[in-house]
Symmetry: C2
Subunit: 422 residues, 2 copies
């Protein structure tokens, strides 16, 4: 398969003063990677004519596909469209469809329509205009005819709005289907994902080393680790069949069975949500050190209200005692960061909120509060289930935010392994 190379060009002053983190680039890179396109460079430049023009020229020389975001607003700062017109030697003309779309979009909000000048429906004469369903800036596709005979195809630049929500809809509904067609991407892209928890990437790699070495060349394996979760993705870009890939997976799964939490591309959250919904069961949480992170993580999942009852965040020991029923003696002898305490917290909240499952956390998120016995990063987690309560002492690295995020993910990941073993 001929590799298709893409470059992402992010345009906007706000990215270069550090006010906004460039999450668009990572999202787009994932989406492109998923359809078999390799991102070779991400370039971020200011809303500056020369900077944009130079970056476009350099990107067009390196990549088959250039995707730009940003600089398409109606204010005078936003100059991407005029710079692209100059570069591709075309001019702006009025587009009545875009004009009608923008008027329809803001018909109930005339104050917004007033601030949008006619610039929003002026489009490059020699560009293909794809509709932006949720915003006023059109998506523009510029095709540069093959410069050299050895180039396999015409290069293409697509300009999208920089608002993450608009960009994502544009990518999913317009840009990716366009690229699939234009670049004749294989329609037979196959991905299979296995989600594992509780095994470090390096240990995992050692365990499946032999299997990985014997993989046929038509398949590509990627390790995608994040917060203790590793997604193993086996892909074929038109060269292997579903049967061949599934045969490989059947060999892989027994090697890592004790850590597999899903055999499709879902989050631990989704797995838990499906399990609880299917079994008509409910869950509650009692948090100390994670301070709401675990609840927030569970509730990221749309539809969580079907199984998630609530949480008691017992930051202060008085709340552990009075609301969750943790014994005074436990707090006095074992302390709040202890097996006895998290067990009582989990059982307490399960009782209080009448749920089938409950998770409790208590630990030291730092940066202060650590001791030689219980250094910063020590977190006790307990899982109360209809079959009894289990607890484990875990250790997480990083700063306060990383420790609480890691502990919240472990609370869910380890519950999934527990449910599986039961």
């Amino acid at each position: 398969m001929k590799t298709i190379l893409a470059e992402i060009l992010s345009i906007g002053d706000e990215l270069l003063i550090g006010q906004v983190v460039n999450t668009n680039a990572a999202w787009m890179a994932q989406a492109l990677n998923h359809v078999g396109i390799t991102v070779v460079q991400v370039t971020t430049v200011q809303d500056d004519k020369k900077a944009i023009r130079d970056a476009v020229a350099a990107a067009m020389s390196r990549a088959d596909v250039v995707l730009t975001t940003g600089g398409l607003g109606p204010t005078k700062d936003d100059i991407t469209k005029t710079v692209l017109c100059e570069y591709f030697r075309t001019r702006l003309v009025e587009d009545l469809r875009v004009r009608a779309h923008v008027h329809a979009l803001y018909k109930d909000r005339p104050q917004i329509l007033n601030t949008l000048t006619a610039t929003q429906w002026m489009v490059p004469e020699h560009a293909t205009i794809l509709p932006n369903r949720v915003g006023s800036a059109p998506i523009m596709v510029f095709v540069r005819p093959k410069a050299k005979s050895q180039e396999p195809r015409a290069k293409v630049l697509i300009s999208m709005p920089g608002v993450p929500h608009e960009m994502q809809i544009a990518m999913n509904e317009q840009v990716l289907p366009y690229l699939r067609e234009h670049l004749q991407l294989s329609a037979d892209i196959i991905h299979r994902t296995v989600v594992v928890y509780g095994i470090p990437e390096s240990t995992l790699a050692l365990r499946i080393e032999k299997w990985e070495k014997n993989l046929p060349k038509s398949m590509h394996l990627a390790y995608l680790p994040k917060q203790g979760v590793v997604r193993l993705r086996l892909s074929s870009y038109g060269e292997a069949t579903e049967q061949q890939i599934d045969a490989q997976l059947r060999e892989l799964l027994p090697l890592i069975d004790d850590h597999v939490i899903a055999t499709e591309d879902v989050t631990p959250n989704e797995v838990l949500g499906c399990y609880l919904t299917e079994h008509k069961q409910t869950i509650a949480t009692a948090e100390s050190c994670t301070g709401g992170r675990l609840a927030a993580l569970l509730n990221e999942q749309s539809g969580s209200s079907a199984y998630y009852m609530g949480s008691v965040i017992a930051y202060d020991n008085s709340v552990k005692q009075q609301v969750l029923g943790v014994q005074v003696e436990t707090l006095a002898t074992d302390g709040a960061v202890s097996e006895a305490c998290v067990r009582q917290m989990a059982e307490g909240v399960r009782r209080l909120l009448h749920t089938d499952y409950a998770i409790a956390t208590s630990g030291i998120a730092g940066p202060t509060g650590g001791t030689p016995d219980k250094p910063v990063g020590t977190v006790w987690i307990a899982w109360a289930t209809p079959k009894g309560t289990k607890a484990e002492c875990c250790h997480f690295g990083g700063d306060r935010a990383q420790i609480t995020a890691g502990a919240a993910m472990a609370a869910i990941g380890k519950l999934l392994l527990l449910l599986k073993s039961e």
Copy 2:
């Protein structure tokens, strides 16, 4: 003042498959901006020899200072150091100080030391080595003599590790002090920040338009908006005195007094934490739609255990009723997303956890559950204080994550305005 231009070069395959979001670039851009250096471009490339060399050459032609992160690990993927040696025409030599540092760093963890080959203490002969206090990869400074007589100074490239924690310490302790010295940055950089809440950036700009127009040329104003909070930063890079800047601020503050929550560069969280600590008061939260986000936000603040007692996340109506004491009739007639319900939630958790303040949220985070009367993004927030309870109906845009994040920030931001008005 001659503007100093910087370029950030982020190196690593993980950034180009979208596995990791490039938060380093935004952090570095903020830090550079703060000392008066303008970032003109951020470039992200793979761990590939040609890609790194080309990007270094292009960056050195554009900027006075090039800062690279990543590609310094001991594995064979990490090639930044050898590519830089080639580009700057120098060779690797052993550095005994770095060797001793790495051995000291991992003396208690020989298993890590074993995996670090001697590559970590081989350094470019003609580079200045700055110590990396927390990691094994040294910070390398390459200086390129002035190429043309019109160049005001030698250009410099500094290579740092890509681990965010290591990069931040390297920047703060080594790189920024080095740049201050090398570039003779003004020692008189003055920043004053005013934090406002509850006024859109565009409305704010209109309100202070006249004041902004009359600002002397020696001062620069920046708007830094994020989740409803706007930080207004007034800066001077060696051209104005503290007295002059403070005089301007004395004119600004009365214009926006009803929205100012701080007159220094702090988060709303920090302001609330200081207020409660100072007044020896406590706070609790009762959350429905924010589902833990508000608690998590409050607990991002180290030391929050001094004033934050806990939370009841009452996702299910039965929890609102049984734990928080919301009346059955309220839920039946007004519904969970109503003024009456959030008032009772706030008062209920304040009573239950014996705190001085309590905040409650109830709304529709979406994507489903909206009605014509209460569309997705509608959130009722109540604040119970020693002086009574206040409630407000707010509306937030975006997806589920953005709505809950916006509501959590509003719960804190509006409490600060309320405390101020009392």
